[in-house]
């Protein structure tokens, strides 16, 4: 094992975060007693799955969040970082995953945003251009200062973000999944520049979940899982298999009694679906699989490997570029959400606050959303208020939603109960196909158990279920068949999940292994 703790105090630490805990107001403990120390002049990877707490940790380092407990030391001195402005003052710079540039302004204007060089009261544009060119040359970045940001490629935008941080005096650079939007050539160039910066004495924190990149670029790494610190290691001294084992792993299992599945006719068939996103990146690469009535098909994978795009396409929220998607033998491509729902498809959306609920609406309003136009709830132009009330009360009881009454505003409920409202609606429409995208993310154990049980019951009663989840124990426990996504492709397919180990799963999910084409084809259509 390549343990690399800084017990010896003679090593100079740029960042030392000690026993950091962070509990969000909604009760989610994102960090628990995390230790994170970065040496001066190294490239240090912060690695973990989505939801492992990496973002929360660096947000605290950049002053965007305050820790609930623990202390932060910069260059050996304890600091309080109440805002990003203070973090910048302390020489910390952050390059966000979603680049925060103003597209209609030029590169130079973006560079000096918030700190423009002045000539009297006017902004000295020429000085801004000069400053930009100077700093770009000093660090050997090739950029055109006078181009508008909207006209330059993503890789260039990222360089500008890095230069922006350098211009503001950053000595510690945080890069949040910088390669997610880059092509491979751009990635190679970025890595070279990051190495140059390190050699110039800058400290770089590199957040990622791509093992090959981390092996290639970084000196040391801190691994996180489920909000906990899983150790710090020298990159050269640890194998990819070991990283994957530390990174991906199951927490305590909720025991679930499961009958053998009895798959019948095909309900959902996905044929050769490909999708390229707005940055011209291939997110789905010729994906094909079936889901049959009475079975649960799970999709596992590290987030950002095409699962989200797939779910959107299956529900008509995005258009596939090629391929065909059929539900009960009828194509759903190009159909509206109403028609797709009428064909018997239900969706538990990944982002429940954005898609799943109308936050300031009542529970009744939220239950009614997919059925308000049904005959049973309308007489002529009017709602049958009594019938609506009765059915809502029935669902509240059935799904054990803890609320005062059915007119309670949904955003007053706890996360678990909000999700139960979504689930009550989606499950009670007698669906043929249920797409459950992260159905239990961030909710309490009781609600989680309840929702999983319900999902299982529905599948055994004959519904086809497609379960997409980043929670390994969930997909492994629930699924009758399991597909693993990596880089927009199905890289593995298992029709028996009971013999699978976390290690094997991790290796497929992180792209270290893949099944042969032939093996896959046989298994994808059992």
């Amino acid at each position: 094992m390549g343990a690399a703790n800084d017990t010896a105090q003679n090593i100079e630490l740029a960042v030392d975060m000690r026993n950091i805990s962070k509990v969000y107001p909604n009760g989610i403990a994102a960090n628990q007693n995390v230790n994170f120390s970065v040496r001066k002049g190294e490239i240090h990877a912060l690695i973990g799955e989505n939801g492992a707490g990496k973002s929360t940790l660096v947000k605290m380092l950049f002053g965007m969040e305050q820790p609930t407990a623990g202390e932060i030391l910069l260059n050996g001195k304890e600091v309080q970082l109440a805002s990003p402005a203070q973090a910048i003052e302390h020489g910390i710079g952050m390059v966000h995953q979603h680049l925060m540039l103003v597209p209609s302004l030029t590169v130079a204007e973006n560079m000096v945003l918030g700190m423009p060089p002045k000539k009297g009261i006017a902004i000295d544009y020429q000085a801004a251009v000069r400053m930009t060119t100077e700093i770009a040359e000093r660090y050997n970045f090739k950029i055109d200062a006078e181009k508008r940001v909207m006209d330059i490629p993503v890789g260039m935008k990222q360089k500008i973000e890095i230069l922006k941080a350098l211009l503001r005096g950053a000595e510690i650079l945080i890069l949040d999944e910088p390669t997610a939007v880059l092509t491979s050539n751009e990635t190679v160039e970025l890595f070279q520049q990051l190495r140059n910066l390190r050699d110039d004495g800058f400290t770089i924190i590199f957040i990622s979940h791509r093992l090959n990149e981390i092996k290639e670029l970084t000196d040391r790494m801190t691994i996180m899982r489920g909000g906990r610190f899983m150790g710090v290691h020298n990159t050269a001294a640890i194998t990819e298999q070991e990283i994957s084992r530390l990174m991906v792993g199951r927490d305590v299992l909720l025991e679930l009694e499961k009958d053998e599945a009895d798959p019948r006719e095909v309900v959902l068939s996905v044929e050769n679906v490909s999708y390229t996103n707005e940055w011209n990146k291939l997110m789905l690469d010729n994906v094909s699989f079936d889901v049959r009535a009475g079975e649960i098909v799970g999709i596992a994978g590290v987030e950002g490997n095409g699962q989200k795009e797939l779910v959107d396409i299956l529900f008509g929220l995005r258009n596939a570029h090629t391929g065909e998607v059929k539900v009960n033998n009828a194509s759903i491509l190009g159909k509206s959400q109403r028609v797709i729902r009428e064909m018997g498809v239900s969706l538990i959306p990944e982002d429940r606050m954005l898609y799943g609920i109308a936050a300031s609406g009542s529970i009744t309003d939220n239950i009614l959303a997919d059925r308000y136009a049904n005959k049973e709830y309308n007489v002529g132009p009017f709602f049958r208020a009594k019938k609506i009330q009765k059915d809502t009360e029935q669902l509240i009881k059935e799904y054990r939603i803890v609320a005062k009454n059915q007119s309670q505003q949904v955003d007053m409920l706890s996360g678990g109960n909000i999700q139960k409202v979504v689930v009550a609606r989606e499950f009670s429409s007698r669906p043929h196909l249920i797409i459950a995208d992260q159905p239990t993310r961030g909710i309490d154990v009781g609600a989680t158990e309840f929702i999983r049980k319900r999902l299982l019951d529905l599948s055994r009663e004959g519904a086809a279920v497609l379960l997409v989840s980043a929670d390994l124990s969930e997909v492994m426990e629930m699924s009758d068949r399991l597909l693993i996504f990596y880089g927009g492709e199905i890289v593995a397919s298992f029709d028996d999940t009971s013999t699978l180990t976390d290690e094997v799963m991790g290796e497929y999910m992180l792209g270290l292994r893949r099944q042969e084409k032939k093996e896959l084809e046989e298994l994808a259509y059992v």
Partner: protein, 373 residues
């Protein structure tokens, strides 16, 4: 029980805001006037009480005038409620009022019809034209993504100048000293509800009927439900299978219909001829009313009454006291500002309520879990 307590609390809070607002107005009056008590009396009491020497009597004619002022603003207020509920800041109510009034006038002048039918037809056509005025910015928004706020605001002036062009060049009565149309045919006028010169017409009753209809539409029909849900969260509405685009258009069309109806009823009830030479301002008042009423149609009559009373009081103050008319505008603004601020502050209060409720529910949940065990 809990609900009733909240209603009482809200009403008390509203009254407190009004009293505070009036206190601020009083400060301005004391600064500007040599006879502040006379001015205050005119502003606050005179709209309903007639003073003759030492004696005071309830002034019913003045009450009628206040109610008459509410007729067009109730309609525009309702229209804005529907549009704002869909989260569409369509400001075309103003143009819709003017266009509705103008087209209804043309029918009242040039198309002879039997007595009972004439005003009905004129108002309905005016209503439809009002709907078209807000429909255009709505279509621009949905089809090409143009901000409905900007386009409706500008479109008001387009509507106004088109009307002015036709009034000046085609329909003007040249025998009159000022620009106005020919007189309406007697059969087209909306009859008065009471005797006297208050201009309180049957239009007031129609407005109240539409308060009920709009409230039912918003809270008791599937279309109103769609409008509300889209206003709360359009992503949710789309995902649930609602047709967001057509509902946005519908909401704005209805908003324009109501405003157009208000304009038509106002013109045929208050005047004998069409003589608006600029935007009449009822559309703006409608926005104020919708904000005060929190987009709830049921509260529209109260908000409209409050503003009409204030209007009448300010009118009386400017004629019967030495407070200059500019000061009147300031006082009116101060009162509105206070009341509106209370409404906006209620957003902060809402957060508190949410938090309390969440705590309470968490306790409930803990209890259920324990009982389950």
């Amino acid at each position: 029980m809990y609900k009733r307590r909240m209603v009482v609390f809200n009403i008390l809070r509203g009254l407190a805001a009004i009293i505070l607002a009036l206190a601020v107005a009083a400060i301005f009056i004391f600064l500007a006037s040599d006879e502040p008590f006379e001015a205050l009396k005119q502003l606050l009491i005179a709209p309903l009480v007639n003073f003759r020497g030492e004696s005071a009597a309830f002034n019913v004619q003045s009450l009628y005038q206040i109610l008459a002022l509410m007729i067009p603003t109730m309609f525009t207020g309702l229209g804005v409620c529907v549009m704002f509920s869909a989260d569409m800041f369509n400001l075309g109510g103003e143009g819709a009022v003017m266009a509705g009034g103008f087209v209804a006038s043309l029918i009242a002048i040039y198309v002879p019809m039997p007595a009972g039918v004439h005003p009905v037809v004129a108002v309905l056509v005016g209503t439809l034209v009002g709907g078209l005025v807000t429909l255009i910015p709505a279509l621009l928004r949905v089809k090409v993504g143009a901000s409905e706020m900007v386009s409706s605001l500008m479109f008001n002036y387009v509507v106004m100048y088109i009307i002015m062009h036709y009034l000046n060049n085609v329909f003007a009565d040249r025998s009159k000293g000022s620009t106005q149309s020919f007189p309406f045919i007697e059969t087209a006028k909306i009859p008065q509800l009471v005797t006297g010169g208050s201009r309180l017409t049957y239009g007031f009753l129609i407005a109240l009927v539409f308060v009920v209809i709009t409230a039912i539409f918003m809270y008791r029909t599937r279309w109103g439900y769609q409008v509300r849900m889209i206003g709360v969260n359009p992503n949710f509405a789309k995902y649930s299978g609602m047709n967001v685009a057509s509902t946005l258009i519908l909401a704005q069309f209805i908003g324009g219909l109501l405003s157009g109806m208000g304009g038509a009823i106002e013109v045929l009830g208050r005047y004998n001829t069409f003589l608006w030479k600029e935007l009449p301002g009822y559309g703006w008042t409608g926005i104020t009313i919708a904000i005060l009423a929190r987009n709830n149609p049921a509260f529209v009559p109260f908000a409209a009454f409050f503003l009409a009373y204030l209007d009448r009081g300010c009118q009386l103050m400017s004629t019967h006291s030495d407070v200059p008319s500019e000061m009147i505008a300031i006082i009116q603004a101060a009162i509105f500002l206070f009341f509106a601020a209370e409404q906006f502050l209620s957003g902060a209060r809402q957060k508190l309520v949410v938090k309390n409720a969440q705590d309470e529910l968490a306790a409930m949940e803990a209890k259920t879990v324990q009982e389950g065990k």
